[in-house]
Structures are given as structure tokens and as C-alpha cells.
Symmetry: C2
Subunit: 587 residues, 2 copies
């Protein structure tokens, strides 16, 4: 070992010990007679001291090393004159007796500090230097710790970790697959899994009872912000369970993680139906760190002179506590916010419930003080509150108001990253109509699409709607939501061949297509499949949530950019004609 | 939960409890008045009892369920009349009070028993049924346990688990890459990693200090027996270490696994140089469960009338203890064995050292009793031993004798699966000449090829041979070998840009090719790379070793066959014209 100790472990109790350290030069200060070098490794920083009087040659050598040089030194631990209480090793320093440069370093393109001067692009190109920054490394240490605790919990609950294959078969009913040409089976392709869904179900048919895997999955999407073509999933499945068992088990996991990793006690998770989530938050992943629930106003605002409200399918608003004093400028900002194309509202109506009890609205000419009083009542508003109202088509308006609600939550400081509000959203619809989703193959447009996936069980009491009103069928499906982020989702699965076959029919598969793509699973159901269900949690997202960050990118060691490129290794890239020929493909 | 207990947990202490069980029908016996069903789940088997006198209808229902039906029953735990000491639940049975068929089952294509009547092909097609067999499931439970213990050990040793990307860049200097066409970057390809080698080295440059990952790797080879296109590796890297530190750390891992998983104390691992392994065992992964070392005979057999020995570059033999009484037939079998094309010896010379002290050889007409006495002395043979000798070209003869030695080890019962002999083989050559390896691109033939990989450090004292005699350079590389199987290998890495660049030159890369494929790594070395090294252990192989099996296939949940096909899901398969078009590729 090129060291006797790490740079993070020496203390006063080590004084007078002969030690050897190895690490990187964080900073170097030449004070004339004395030179100090901060030597850094993963475990901490230790100060090295050189003195012309102790050893002239060594001091001169020390003055020549630059930032990020890799050194090995031996010396004696001594007490430090001016102690640094902010550094665990700050009571001591090393009187260096020999120094070896293990490797030199050219000047890094950005500073290796928590606050760096490197922009995103530069940081990604030199990701190996970016990862040297303590703040980034800590994110990955957190990820390591979470993975360990997940496994500990699931192992104790009798889950077996089983690796499922990465080279599988293309089943393009979900998002697009990444495919892999087979050299040994020319003209044929493997696909990379979007999830190990069918394999984990087969493991249940096999009697594995409880399965888990922390596993890479792949989706060839037009990348939205903060999506990665490869991502990591905590994938789980259980047999002989009902929805309640799964909610209990994974609520247990989440609470275990908060307790062991962040020492936070999370209360029992509330349950909210999908219908309520949409009604009160306009969102199937509501941020419940704050209330500000939607209030529908159709009944009390219609029938006056205000055409916008009269023509709207839905008039709906929120009450922002204590925001009545918002200035004209702030209100204009909010109006601009909701009118942005990605939000798409046509305008914003407000009513200030002033501290003096008066009410001032942007639609005063259409509504009397009496009318507005009714508004404050239905919103349960207090003097000092601000009512914000949108109107228009049902779905679009809810979506826009959800964005406005989140914006107001942020502006009012209600979205504290160190506060965690978890809940289950349940009773999702089984299907949704695909108008032409750019992340699906064009040939799938104009069909029903499985909201969760085609293996999700409809609620038994809704099965009769399969042929008559598929859109109304509710699924035994659930999402776990933390702070407005969908951390995971799952469902109770179909375990009967006939029902699975009907499901594929509703999704527009011919019998032949269904058999060709999923015959192995439907056949397996004939040999005694147990009732089963499961869940998958987004591990990248969970890590960033625990790390208090918005982006997943800094919780992935080597992420890709928004074009799916790894700019560090410059991938994807061309391959040789020889390779193409062997694979039997042409460009 | 559809059960109150599993089928493996009820004991005498549970008698009189009301319970609910769910599981599969293992067997059903109708004895007239009584019917017994063995109900199976992952945890065990519990006997269910039905009696016409207790409940006629229920008994009749029980008589109708078939093998592998999925049942849920409720009943009372009662004492069993004839206890089954071979089953942990064998003291009790369930007096069933209600029975629900959760799912029916058609007759499986083979019996779900430890000894099955299903052939390999059928088992793979219905792998989900094969996995129901306790013996196969136990293999995967062992795999789970090993993975947990590996992580526990490495976590305690401060290793950080870091996930490296799966979509990387093609660098076809090793085996062939699997590639993935990029839709968003048309004409370009990702590659699947043959190992996370460059990424783990970058993590060392980043100061991660100790990295590990249990990770899928991919190699597009013409599959030999018991190789899989995707396989799992325990991948590790450490900074500020020398070879000795790595050997100690991973010797520790292997001993920890044997102790915790099999309760076996493994002694300190001996070290053997590659040169000695070849000299004494003709093999760089010697099976050291037994001795039977090679003895070279050139000095004492040449110069007589026996042309075969006189013309041979090498005459070398082994002494099989206690095999002097081998019959003519047995000796003929051995001769046939070494003459098989894949072994390729031209003949076998033997000398029996009979119990009466006489020596009888197959070359008596060329060698006197006196000559043969010398043989027995050099082999340190005792009366009752059999000397077996091969002659010919140096490499081929050693290889053939290695096969014969293993065959004799097997025949003499010296290769007990429950005995484990571990060792390190060290000082491998850095390079080997590629005559035209079918697992490499044809364009790489007639070049030096890195024996371990191009990042392996030559021994400092041998570096001067890089330009003059590359084949003689020894590497700081090591393999861990258990019972004649290479379980893992690693090396101390190059961490200097110039040396890495020279290495690529020796391997026949132009400066441009090296920069294009590995520029990111060589550039990283300029920013302060620490001395580092690592190892990768084959996890599939390790599991099969611990499970006492020869094949890795039953330690992988869903393996592929020798043509790289998953016959269960029928993959690889064709993809649609729409998919091909989007990817911009043609067949």
C-alpha cells in the first residue's frame, strides 16, 4: 500500500507517529520559509508542512508541485499551531520528511472545488475531473449507501436478487427499443429491456415468490430534460399478494431508507385516488408538501357577463396564503408564466383578499363585492390571501393550474428540499388513448395504450367495461410520489391467459402479434401462475431526491447529454466497415 | 396477503392454529377415504389432509386438482400420524377447511422434481418451469447469498459501488463488441461493454479510491461450451496499491465467501508464477487439488534407439499414484484419449512400477530395466505407480499432458467437488502473438495482442524490452484459480500517458486510432492519475464453483444456448421495417 493512513483519519492522538500519505495537491501556499500543501483524497484533507530550516531541498521540491499533482509523502504527525476546527484533521499537520511525485498534472480546465467555474459542457467532457469535486462524489457515495440499504431491507423481507437478461426481444408496444444486431443470427436483433417486466413475472410463475433487482433499463426516447437513455430501476415482484401487501412492503422500504440514510421518520403514507389527485392537484403526482388544493368554481361564476368563464368547460382556482400583497409586476409575471406555450393558458384571473377585508379582482366589472365574497368563502380564504383562477378546457386547465400551483409553492417557499411528503396515488385508469405520442412508433397512434403496461390487471369490478368503455376501467395500479415526483409505480398483474389475451386485443394486437411477442408469457400462465404484483422505483430519481437535487445527472457517474451522447468518450460513434459487414447491416 | 404462513414454516408448536397457505400441488394421493396433497412453495412443502368423513364435498374437490394447480387453503394445523423426518414440516399436516383454486395448470412437459425427465432443450424452452425445480432454485438462492456477502465484504473495505454505463463506445481491440445503432445520431453506434475497464480507471483518476460493481458484460464470441454472450463480473479497482495489496484484499474476499457461505476455512493462498504453472502443470490455471506434477525427461530418455523421443522437442510425463494395475484396456483408453484431435498427441508411453518392484513399459525394447529405474527415481515413483509420458512439440505436448493429468485426476477420484484448492498465478506475459484468433476481428491477426488487456502495466524491470522483445515482457498481472478454473484476473495498470501510448504502438495501433478510441483515458492520465490496479471475478463461474457444478448455465436464471439464442422468448428475432427505417439501417 502506498500509504499507511488516508488523508482523512489523522487526529491529535496520532501525534509523533511516522506515517505515509498519498493524494492530490488541493492547494499549496509558499509563505517564504514555510510551505503548506493541502493533500486530498476521498477521505479528507491533511495539511503538509515544509520548512526551509528543516530541509531546504525538500522545501524547494514542495514549492514546485502544482495543483492536482499526485504525491506520496512520509513524515511525522505534529500538532498544528493554528488549528482548523472545520476540518476533522485540522488539529494536526505533517512534518514532511520525504516527498515523491507519483504523477504530475497539467492545469485542470476548471477548479476542483464545490463551487466550480466549469460550465455543464466542460464538466461533462472532463467528467473524471468533475467527479473529483467533493460535492459530486458525495452524491455517488449517497447512491452507494442507498443501494446497500435497499438490499439489506429487501433481503430481510425474503426477496431474492435475480439477474434478468439484457439481450432480450423487441416488443415495441411501449417506448422505442434499443436493438442489437446479432452476428450469429444474421438479420435478427436482440433488444435492450425497457424493464425486466416479463421476466419478473415468469419468476413468479417459477415460484420465486419475491424477486428484486437494481437493474439498468433502456428507452430510446427523444430525450426530455433530465431523462437518460439508460437508467436504473429498483425492480420488484411478489406472489400471493394483493395491492395492500405491496403498498405496505414498499412503504416500509421508503421509510427504512429515510430512517437509515437521513435519520428522518416518515409517517404512514396517505393514499389518494388518481381521480382525487387530478381533481385537487391537476396532477397524478401531486406535491403535497403544501395544500393549495384546487377549488372548482363553475357553479358560482357562470351566468354573469364574463364570457371567458361562461364559455369555459372548467373554471378552477387556488388560494395562495398571504400573497394578497403581490404587486402588479408580480401578478403580471404570473400571467406571463401561465401564458407560456408549454403551459398554454389564455389568461389569469386574480382576486386579492386584502388585509382590510376588501376584495379586489381583475374581473371587478363582471362580479360584485357580494359575488367575490362567495369566492373567498368557497376557497376558505383569509384576509391577506390571493385567489388565482384559470378557465378553459377541462384537462388543459387543470394541467396549467397545476403548474401555477407549483410555481406559487416555490415562490412562497413551500417546497423545502429538506422536507419530505410521500403518498400513494392509487386507482389509475387502465388505458389511455394514444393521439400520437412522439415517444411511440407512429404505427401505434389512434389506439388504446396501456397507462402502466399491458400486464396490469383491471379492477375485477371494471372488467366488464373492456369491450364497451375501455377508458373508464380502473387498474390495480399505484404510484409512490414524493414531493411531487413519481418515484415509482406498479400494479397487480394479470395472471390468466384469457384475460391477458383480451387485453392485447383491446390494445390493437392481432392474435398472431400477441402470440409472437408475448406467447411465452401467456403460455406460462397455463402452467399454474400465482396471483402476483410488483413495483419499480426509479433509482436515479430516488438518489437525487435524497440528495436534495432537482437533476438526476449528478447522481449518475457517467451520464449522457440531452442528445444521448457521452461527450467524454465521444459516443455513439462510427464503427468500421469490417464490423458492419460481419453484422450483415448497411447504413 | 393470500396466506398466513408459507409452506415451509409450520411445526409442532403451531398445532391447533388456524392458517391459510397458498402454493402449488406437488403431488396428490387419493387413498379412498383420505386424500393427501403436498403443497409446495419456495419455502417448503406442507401436507394437506382431506377426509370424506370430515367434509365430503371438499374431499371430492381435492380429488380433482392436478399437479401444479395453484391453491389457497385454510385449515387447522394437526399432528401427523406418520411423521416425515425428512421434511421440516413433516411433524404436522393441515386439516383443510376450505380450498380455492387460484389457477389451474395444464400438464407440464417434464416432471418438476430434482431428477427430471426433461432434456436440456425442453428445460430451456420452459425455463420458468425448470426454475420451479428445487435444485435449480437453490442455485439462484446461492447466487443471491454470494452477491450479498460480496457487497458486505467490499462495503466494509470502503469500496464504493458505482454503476458505469452500458451504452458505450466500440473499441474492437479485444473480443468483438455488440453494437447498438443510435436513432438520434444516425449512422453511429453505441457498443455494449466487454468490461467497465476504462470507466473504473477513470474513477481512480477521479479519486474514488476503491470501486466495485457486480455488472453485466457482453462479448460477441463464437460461443464455446459454457460461455454466454452476456455474463456477470465482480469488477473492482483500487488506488495507491501495489500488486500485493490487491492479492491480499481479494484473497480476503474469497476466504470470506467460503467461510460465510460454505463454512469452509481456506488457508492462505499460495502463489505460483505463470512460468511454473506452465512448467509443472502445462496450464495457467492448474487444478491443485492434487499433485501429479510434470517431470521433464529430455536429459534421461534421449540418445537411445527410440526415435519418437529423440526427435521430440520435449519429453514430459506424470506419475499416477497407485495406477500401476491399470489394465491393457484402461491404458488403451488413455492412449485414445490423448490422440483425440482436440488433444492431439501422437501416442502415449507408459511404465508400470509393479508392486513386486519390476518395471514394465511400452518401450521395453528401447530402454533397459536400468534406464527405467532412473525414470522411477526422477518421478519419485513408488511401487504401484504408473508413469505416463508424452513427447513432441513443447507447447502442444504440455497442453496435451495437462489434459491427461486432469483425466487421471478424475479417474483416480482426486477432483472432489467439495474440496477447494485456491491459488494465485502471477507474472503473466504482457503480450501474446495473435496468429488469427477466431474471436477477434480478422484485421487484428499477425499482431501482438495484450494477454490481459492493453492497460496492464509491464513489470518495470521488463519495460526496456518493449521494442526489442515484447514477447518476453512480464506483466504485473495475476489470476485467481480455484480447482483448475480461472475465477478472476487483474493487473496493476499503466497510469502514465507515454507508457500507455507506447503500449498501443506495440499493439499495432496508429497514433490516430489510439487517440480516437482511447484518447479520453490517456488525456485523463495527464491530470494527475494515481497508481492503481484491480481485478474482475467471473460471478457466474464463482457461483457454479460454490454450487459444485461444472456448468454455469444453471446458475443464470435465463441463459442463452450455444448459438446465443434465448429459446424461451425466441430471441434474437426480426424487427419491423418501421424500426429499421427509424434507425437508418438496412439488412
Amino acid at each position: 500500500m502506498l500509504r499507511s493512513h488516508t488523508c482523512g483519519e489523522l487526529r491529535s492522538s496520532d501525534i509523533n507517529k511516522q506515517i505515509t500519505l498519498s493524494g492530490w495537491v488541493q492547494t499549496s501556499r509558499n509563505l517564504g520559509g514555510m510551505t503548506f500543501i493541502d493533500l486530498r483524497d476521498r477521505y479528507g484533507i491533511t495539511q503538509l508542512a515544509f520548512n526551509l530550516d528543516w530541509n531546504k531541498e525538500l522545501s524547494e521540491q514542495a514549492n514546485k508541485v502544482g495543483r492536482e499533482f499526485v504525491l506520496q509523502i512520509t513524515g511525522t504527525v505534529i500538532e498544528r499551531q493554528s488549528k482548523n476546527k472545520n476540518n476533522p484533521t485540522g488539529d494536526v499537520e505533517i512534518k514532511v520528511e520525504s516527498l515523491k511525485i507519483l504523477n504530475e498534472a497539467i492545469t485542470p480546465p476548471f477548479t476542483i472545488e464545490d463551487e466550480t467555474d466549469g460550465g455543464d459542457e466542460l464538466r461533462m467532457k472532463y467528467r473524471y475531473l468533475d467527479l473529483r469535486r467533493t460535492i459530486v462524489r458525495k452524491n455517488l457515495e449517497l447512491r452507494h449507501r442507498l443501494a446497500m440499504e435497499i438490499r439489506t431491507y429487501l433481503d430481510k423481507q425474503n426477496f431474492l436478487e435475480v439477474e434478468t437478461p439484457v439481450l432480450i426481444k423487441s416488443t415495441p408496444e411501449g417506448a422505442r427499443d434499443f436493438v442489437v444486431p446479432s452476428r450469429m443470427n444474421e438479420g435478427q436483433f436482440y433488444a435492450l429491456p425497457q424493464s425486466p417486466q416479463t421476466f419478473k413475472q415468469l419468476l413468479m410463475v417459477s415460484g420465486f415468490d419475491r424477486y428484486y433487482q437494481i437493474v439498468k433499463c433502456f428507452r430510446d426516447e427523444d430525450l426530455r430534460a433530465d431523462r437518460q437513455p439508460e437508467f436504473t430501476q429498483i425492480d420488484c415482484e411478489m406472489s400471493f399478494v394483493e395491492q395492500e401487501d405491496i403498498l405496505q412492503t414498499f412503504e416500509g422500504l421508503v421509510r427504512h431508507l429515510f430512517k437509515t440514510v437521513k435519520d428522518i421518520d416518515i409517517p404512514t403514507l396517505p393514499r389518494m385516488s388518481y381521480a382525487d389527485a387530478m381533481k385537487y392537484y391537476g396532477n397524478d403526482k401531486p406535491d403535497t408538501r403544501f395544500e393549495m388544493k384546487f377549488v372548482e368554481l363553475n357553479d358560482i361564476v357562470k351566468g354573469k357577463e364574463f364570457k371567458v368563464f361562461n364559455d369555459a368547460k372548467l373554471v378552477v382556482g387556488i388560494c395562495a396564503k398571504g400573497a394578497a400583497e403581490y404587486s402588479r409586476k408580480q401578478l403580471d409575471e404570473l400571467t406571463e408564466f401561465v401564458k407560456r406555450p408549454q403551459i398554454g393558458a389564455t389568461g389569469l384571473v386574480y382576486a386579492r383578499f386584502n388585509n382590510d377585508g376588501t376584495i379586489k379582482s381583475s374581473v371587478d366589472k363582471f362580479y360584485t363585492e357580494e359575488d367575490l365574497k362567495k369566492w373567498t368563502t368557497i376557497f376558505n380564504a383569509q384576509p391577506g390571501d390571493l385567489i388565482l383562477i384559470l378557465a378553459g378546457d377541462e384537462d388543459k386547465t387543470r394541467k396549467a393550474l397545476s403548474e401555477l400551483r407549483l410555481e406559487m409553492g416555490t415562490r412562497l417557499g413551500l417546497r423545502d428540499k429538506n422536507k419530505f411528503s410521500c403518498l400513494w396515488v392509487v386507482d389509475f385508469p387502465l388505458l389511455e388513448w394514444n393521439e400520437g405520442d412522439p415517444n411511440l412508433l407512429a404505427s401505434l397512434a389512434g389506439r388504446w395504450h396501456a397507462k402502466h403496461h399491458p400486464f396490469t390487471s383491471p379492477k375485477p369490478e371494471d372488467i366488464h367495461l373492456l369491450k364497451t368503455n375501455p377508458g373508464a376501467i380502473r387498474a390495480n395500479a399505484y404510484d409512490i410520489v414524493i414531493n411531487g415526483v413519481e418515484i415509482g409505480g406498479g400494479s397487480i398483474r394479470i395472471f390468466n391467459k384469457d384475460l391477458q389475451s383480451q387485453m392485447f386485443e383491446v390494445l390493437g394486437f392481432t392474435k398472431e402479434e400477441a402470440q409472437k411477442q408475448f406467447g411465452f408469457l401467456m403460455n406460462a400462465f397455463e402452467f399454474g401462475a400465482p396471483p402476483h404484483g410488483g413495483i419499480a422505483l426509479g433509482f436515479d430519481r430516488l438518489c437525487s431526491m435524497f440528495g436534495g437535487a432537482d437533476s438526476i445527472r449528478d447522481f449518475i457517474a457517467f451520464p449522457k447529454n440531452n442528445s444521448g451522447r457521452d461527450v467524454m468518450i465521444d459516443s455513439p460513434s462510427e464503427i468500421s466497415a469490417e464490423q458492419l459487414k460481419e453484422l450483415g447491416i448497411k447504413l
